[in-house]
């Protein structure tokens, strides 16, 4: 079996005193793609926020191990430098911060952390151009301030582009498909597929099954009321598409009964 990248054990977390995650267990190994699906309010975004280190979320119990170390102990920037990447559901516009400058600073922080020499402007540009080519994206992305004036689709593509440049070990895609038309969806998922390697893992969080037409997960998990209610292969996603979530909710309610 390949290396365990992420291990979530009985995770309880919430925000402003509200309990949202109530005992999540999940194990992701290198080379795998996992999908988390679930109805609105099931805790999908809380899970991604907790993993990325958003401070307003409070972990009340449980453990998250990232390559054997306690992830929850680390600041958000330390997590990123260790190889954790969150593709945001709503990427922030940052006027005045040039995209190239930002991404070069980010990549060099990560390289520094790994004991690699920092890239100068020329070397960085070379890396960036390669990645743009792989993802078939325009250089325009680099000339503008971070996400400023970008359409929803452009913002999501930019997230994938950043992911390509920063080469994370654990990538969490938080509803990357929401608000995308079919063309943008294809571009984004092709990007994700191209970035899949034997030594990394991707956690794809989505509300709809349609993303999984393009990204084929090794495992699908259904999150409901803050817990993984059901796990299965890629067929589970199709079943959800046909039958909705209700049957799982009923099933898990029945099994929870003493």
């Amino acid at each position: 079996m390949s290396e365990v990248i992420l291990e979530i054990r009985d995770l309880h977390a919430g925000v402003e005193g509200k309990k949202i995650l109530q005992g999540v267990n999940l194990t992701l190994r290198a080379g795998e793609v996992h999908a988390i699906m679930g109805p609105n309010g099931s805790g999908k975004s809380t899970l991604s926020s907790v993993l990325a280190g958003k401070e307003e979320f409070e972990v009340t119990a449980g453990q998250v191990l990232y390559r054997g170390q306690d992830l929850l102990e680390l600041d958000p920037e330390e997590r990123a430098r260790e190889g954790v990447f969150l593709a945001f559901q709503y990427p922030v516009e940052i006027p005045g911060v040039n995209s190239t400058y930002f991404l070069k600073a980010a990549l060099n922080e990560i390289r520094k952390h790994r004991g690699l020499p920092e890239l100068d402007a020329m070397e960085f540009l070379k890396v960036v151009k390669e990645k743009l080519k792989v993802l078939d994206l325009s250089e325009d992305l680099l000339r503008r301030p971070v996400n400023e004036g970008f359409s929803g689709g452009e913002k999501k593509r930019n997230e994938i582009f950043q992911m390509a440049v920063l080469e994370p070990t654990l990538a969490i895609l938080d509803e990357t498909d929401s608000g995308l038309d079919i063309d943008a969806l294809k571009v984004v998922s092709e990007g994700v597929n191209k970035l899949k390697r034997g030594d990394n893992t991707q956690l794809v969080i989505t509300h709809y099954q349609r993303l999984l037409n393009y990204i084929v997960p090794d495992q699908v998990h259904v999150l409901s009321k803050g817990r993984i209610a059901k796990s299965g292969g890629k067929d589970l996603a199709l079943e959800l598409e046909n039958r909705g979530y209700d049957w799982i909710l009923k099933e898990s309610a029945a099994s929870a009964r003493p």
């Binding site: 958003k54 958000p76 930002f102 922080e109 950043q162």
Partner: protein, 453 residues
């Protein structure tokens, strides 16, 4: 309406009697003497605005009133330490440079090189002797009766200034630099300069104006610039003010722009104790574009005030105002933007934004947009924000591996960069960017800036 003040204008009148006895002033032409007396009379009649005056509500004049009033002599030729000009922040810019020391042009340390055919750049005193009629026509040409009393005081006391005339079609690639330096010869030493700038049809001009002090001291600068821009001309003016933290800086820019011209005015204010920038522009021809763009950085007890009046007189003009302030410690930023759209100015596109970043709980921002619209087919927007760094933006940067301190610095720099980025002349923009970054980095509070929860 200007309100009457209870303060005694006596010291100013008395100082004028003394000041005008100098041989430089007594040998001036009769019309100029009369002009000075008129200015003094108007100042006397208006008085100093009282604290409750609508235009000065957030900008107490106490620091100015507390200064002894001592006008610097006209026609002096003050020197400067040779190293000062070489090391000042914008010295890397090429182009003609006029250096004013305590209000008077010093030709020995100025450079008039690089002026193309059709461009006249010289000191106002010298043109008064060479071509008095031209000056007479231009002086106060842009001044309104209701203008602030310091513009009238400038009329009485102006010592010198820049005279710039650009003939139709003439183009200056490099900016003309006007470097105003105060040596703080004594407490309350006040410099009064008048810049008269006229840009002909289709001409292009860039100006970089600097106001500097060679040392800390409570001096006073009172400048009036009159800017006339002809049809289809392009003008970019950068005013960079970084004087002693005890100084009082009062500035009035009066502009009138003709059809299809493009005018960009940038005001970078690093503050004095009190810095008031009045900008009054008349958009007097159709289809012109005017950008007023400003950045103010204050700390300690500083106050920086930008007071704008943009008058749309003709149809299909665009005016955009962007002002960002970064306020630290107990300092204050004041923004007043008045947009007046006359009934004749249909299809006006006016936009006004003022954003303030508070780095301390004790800093204050006062922002006052004012739209007066008398035309029915216009697009006018305004927006103002006062706050701390955006927590979501900080998290976004951190989630990419950028440390908390660096993230904050990046965002503060970006906030300033939004404004600096609008300077279209590359070398000027890059030089200003460097100075502002150094200035921000020298602030120990930047790294520890509080952010919104």
């Amino acid at each position: 309406m200007s309100a009457k003040t209870p303060i005694d204008s006596g010291p100013y009148l008395q100082e004028f009697r003394r000041w005008s006895q100098s041989s430089e002033v007594t040998r001036e032409a009769a019309w100029l003497k009369a002009f000075r007396e008129e200015g003094l009379d108007r100042f006397k009649a208006k008085g100093v605005p009282p604290p409750n005056h609508e235009d000065w509500r957030f900008t107490p004049l106490a620091p100015w009133l507390k200064l002894p009033f001592s006008a610097n002599p006209a026609g002096a030729r003050g020197g400067l330490d040779a190293g000062f000009l070489a090391q000042e922040a914008l010295s890397s810019l090429s182009g003609p440079t006029l250096v004013f020391v305590d209000g008077c042009l010093n030709p020995d340390i100025s450079s008039f090189q690089g002026l193309p055919e059709g461009v006249d750049v010289c000191g106002l005193r010298s043109i008064c002797e060479r071509n008095p009629d031209a000056v007479r026509e231009q002086l106060n040409a842009r001044l309104r009766p209701e203008e602030n009393p310091f513009a009238d005081l400038n009329g009485a006391f102006f010592q010198d200034g820049a005279w710039i005339r650009v003939a139709p079609g003439a183009v200056l690639a490099d900016p003309v630099r006007l470097v105003h330096v105060s040596t703080c010869p004594k407490a309350g030493a006040s410099s009064h300069t008048r810049n008269l700038i006229d840009v002909g049809e289709g001409a292009e001009l860039r100006i970089v104006e600097q106001y500097l002090s060679i040392r800390e001291g409570n001096h006073h600068t009172n400048v009036v610039s009159e800017l006339t821009v002809g049809p289809s001309a392009r003008v970019e003016l950068v005013k960079y003010q970084d004087e002693s933290s005890e100084a009082v800086h009062l500035s009035t820019l009066l502009g009138r722009f003709d059809r299809e011209s493009q005018v960009r005015i940038h005001s970078i204010s690093l503050g004095a104790k009190l810095a008031r920038n009045t900008l009054r522009v008349e958009l007097a021809g159709p289809e012109l574009e005017c950008v007023l763009n400003g950045l103010y950085l204050t700390r300690g007890e500083q106050l920086a005030d930008h007071h704008m009046i943009v008058e749309h007189l003709e149809p299909r003009c665009a005016s955009h105002e962007y002002f960002n302030g970064i306020l630290d410690e107990r300092s204050r930023g004041v923004f007043h933007g008045r947009i007046l759209v006359h009934p004749t100015a249909q299809k006006t596109d006016a936009k006004q934004t003022n954003k303030n970043l508070l780095l301390s709980d004790d800093a204050t921002a006062n922002t006052k947009p004012q739209l007066e619209i008398y035309a029915d087919d216009v697009r006018c927007t305004h927006g103002a924000t006062v706050g701390q760094l955006n927590e979501d933006s900080i998290f976004y940067l951190r989630a990419r591996g950028i440390g908390l301190e660096t993230a904050r610095q990046m965002l503060i720099h970006a906030f300033a960069g939004e404004i600096i980025g609008r300077i279209s002349h590359d070398a000027t923009r890059e030089a200003v960017d460097r100075i502002i970054w150094d200035h921000l980095e020298s602030n120990p509070h930047i790294a520890a800036a509080p952010s919104a929860a």
